[in-house]
Assembly symmetry: C2
Homo-oligomer: 465 residues x 2
Amino acid sequence: MRSLFALLVCSLFLSGPKAFGQSGDEEVEQVAKFFDHVLTEGQCYPWLHYLCKEVGHRVAGSAAGAAAVEYSQQILDSIGCDKVWTQEVEVRHWSRGSIEKCKVVQSNTLGDLELSVVALGYSAPTPNLGLKAEVIEVKSLDELRKLPSSQVKGKFVFFNGPMDPKKINTFHAYGAAGSQRTSGPRVAAQKGAVGALVRSLTLKNDDVPHSGVTIFKQEKPIPAAALGIQSADKLSALLAQEPKAKVLLELNCQDLGKRKTYNVIGEIKGSVYPDEIIVVGGHLDSWDLGEGAHDDGAGCVHAMQVLHSFKALGIRPKHTIRCVLFANEESGLAGGRKYAAEAERKGEKHIAAIESDGGGHAPRGFAMDALPHVLKPAYAKAQNWRSLVAPYGFYELTTGGSGADISPLKKLGVVLFGFRPDSQRYFDYHHSRTDVFENVHRRELELGAAGIAAWVYLIDKYGLQ
Amino acid sequence: MRSLFALLVCSLFLSGPKAFGQSGDEEVEQVAKFFDHVLTEGQCYPWLHYLCKEVGHRVAGSAAGAAAVEYSQQILDSIGCDKVWTQEVEVRHWSRGSIEKCKVVQSNTLGDLELSVVALGYSAPTPNLGLKAEVIEVKSLDELRKLPSSQVKGKFVFFNGPMDPKKINTFHAYGAAGSQRTSGPRVAAQKGAVGALVRSLTLKNDDVPHSGVTIFKQEKPIPAAALGIQSADKLSALLAQEPKAKVLLELNCQDLGKRKTYNVIGEIKGSVYPDEIIVVGGHLDSWDLGEGAHDDGAGCVHAMQVLHSFKALGIRPKHTIRCVLFANEESGLAGGRKYAAEAERKGEKHIAAIESDGGGHAPRGFAMDALPHVLKPAYAKAQNWRSLVAPYGFYELTTGGSGADISPLKKLGVVLFGFRPDSQRYFDYHHSRTDVFENVHRRELELGAAGIAAWVYLIDKYGLQ
């Protein structure tokens, strides 16, 4: 694209800031200040660099998790928060170990076929020499539920239902396919399976395996692993030829039992309503592959950037604005539960909570959730602000979802918002070794932070009732 | 992000397809068919792979340019177009050559300092041993215009005005800074400068230089090159210390004179109005760095995908739909001018033209342009369709711009549309060695193609008057 003339005369219909009540111009300017600040002096990108490259991935309860707790407190201190503190949280620390191997053994047509694999979180280890068994393939959890145990017993269950590429928002495709990973191994164990293999939850056609939690309840955990999707396709093709082919899986992951970790909290005290709180947060823990850059380093630095921008712009909020970096979203949500329990115990009044846990991509908008009688007036109010943030790519305001860590606040009557970035690339990286700093785009990250800051500003100024 | 429950209940307010006139449900389904098709059976991504990796970059008039003409005709044939043909276009073929070097020589503080550089299109070469001169730095074309020639004569003019990171749409920042590259060297030559160095037009903080055309008119061309922005920053810092420092530039680019190339055209004949035409296009030429993946391989495969989807879905359009791959957008727009001149000469009636030349990123919407009396009713009509494409990320419908190649059709009363993808990453790659296939995301590319196809469908069905 060469010619400039067409660009210079371009006027954005939807993007042209519209009048907003009587104080329209003032709000247009104020929102612009947040974007100007973050796009020129924002610190979220260098903070994320440190979190990814110096701290690295940070499973709740791990040594790196402790380093992340320390580092984020230092940032919140350096911003000039009025108060920075932690909340102790107990987590079950699971460690991946050093051995993750999977192959089809002695196939008639292919010999030994190596498959790309990672253990799922809370998987059991295999015996030292590995676990060898036949495989039964299903395309969904429902399909497994309908199978008699006799067809499952002693085998690996291979969950091979792909994410649906026709769903435009990839989180919806993830939601539809995800029970294979979260609940599949548990149901397989109930039916006597010796292990589970799950097709990675991604739409990218490569062979990078994607981990994530799997949940066992009363069942004794079995070895459960994710296959790269090209490996999953190869295994499926082979099973069509040789239904009796055996897979050998080796994992030496470990459940290390209970550990302590911490929610990290910093706040700017409100000038008018110091006892009414607006939370902005992300989760500090990550999976132990890659660097937790999009999931959820991006959300953590978004939240810290909000406080930094208020301080740097000299805006003293009326309500207390609190940055909460939750302790363990990935493996149990103990951090979110603890925060809500403490808020309830202390009788704290939270008027809103915003979570960023959809990655650091270019913004698309917000989702909202609350108890029905709270949601209705809040949604009506928030609708008024859409034209202020739409010029920055915040087009959507939907209802029905927010963020996992803040969800326990719903029952306390808090209005919840989830930041919603563009979803196309998120599951390319999610829970895999490619979720690294290099895959986060500086301006996209900054636009998210600035929009969340502007949204907090509007909530603080106008309330939600 | 782990928890699935929040996703499953998520309902999109803005994204929920709204009733569209009386035939709302039918149109919702029809639009969905285009997305379903492209996201599961689209060919645009493998076509782009071939164009980038087998053909490579393709300056108008080059051997690779000829290969691109041949390849795209074959694709259009294979799609099942009713007719495929070419239009001969004459272009001035400029070749980059093999030598591009730039350094500060004999700086007191730094010794010889290498600078990252590429020639601008239509730059003159330097003498064989290079061109050595002092440097005068300006921050804009206006600043140069105000300088007396005595301060410029015999020197390099160094245009160092950055793109403005505060502009949310990066094309606006490009538009504001771009005259330094397109017109700066010409004005410098008028004032007696021996050469020009231009800060690359990018917002990415690296040292990759970005080329592009520079335009000389009556002036004798002078050597003109783009510096990587880290090199530009270094040179600026050095000049602040040592204003008399000299730069040595070596370029052996060449103007090879007139060559022939071709617009490539394929069409599906209309069933009701075969003599009324809807154009969908991109430009086949690229700069000679990288692979022309986003600029504008993406636009070409978008346009071909539109015809492919109509054929594959068995939708016979009422109007003739014509894919036009323009010959040389980058260096003169002769392809666009030729196409419009032929349309006028033959008295062809075009009702609309859509160009994709903003890259292969996730869609944001369309811009519209036309003569005022044509634009008004067309905009009113097109507004009705927004709710049909908004669920797919096509949020914006703006006025005032379209695409360079289709712009000569405006005076014929044609309604013009420019596809507008997300702009944040485009100038990271634009006209540089990093504009390669690997930087195009499959789903983002496909979403653009599907939305353009749906838009063509709506124009075909309802017209624009």
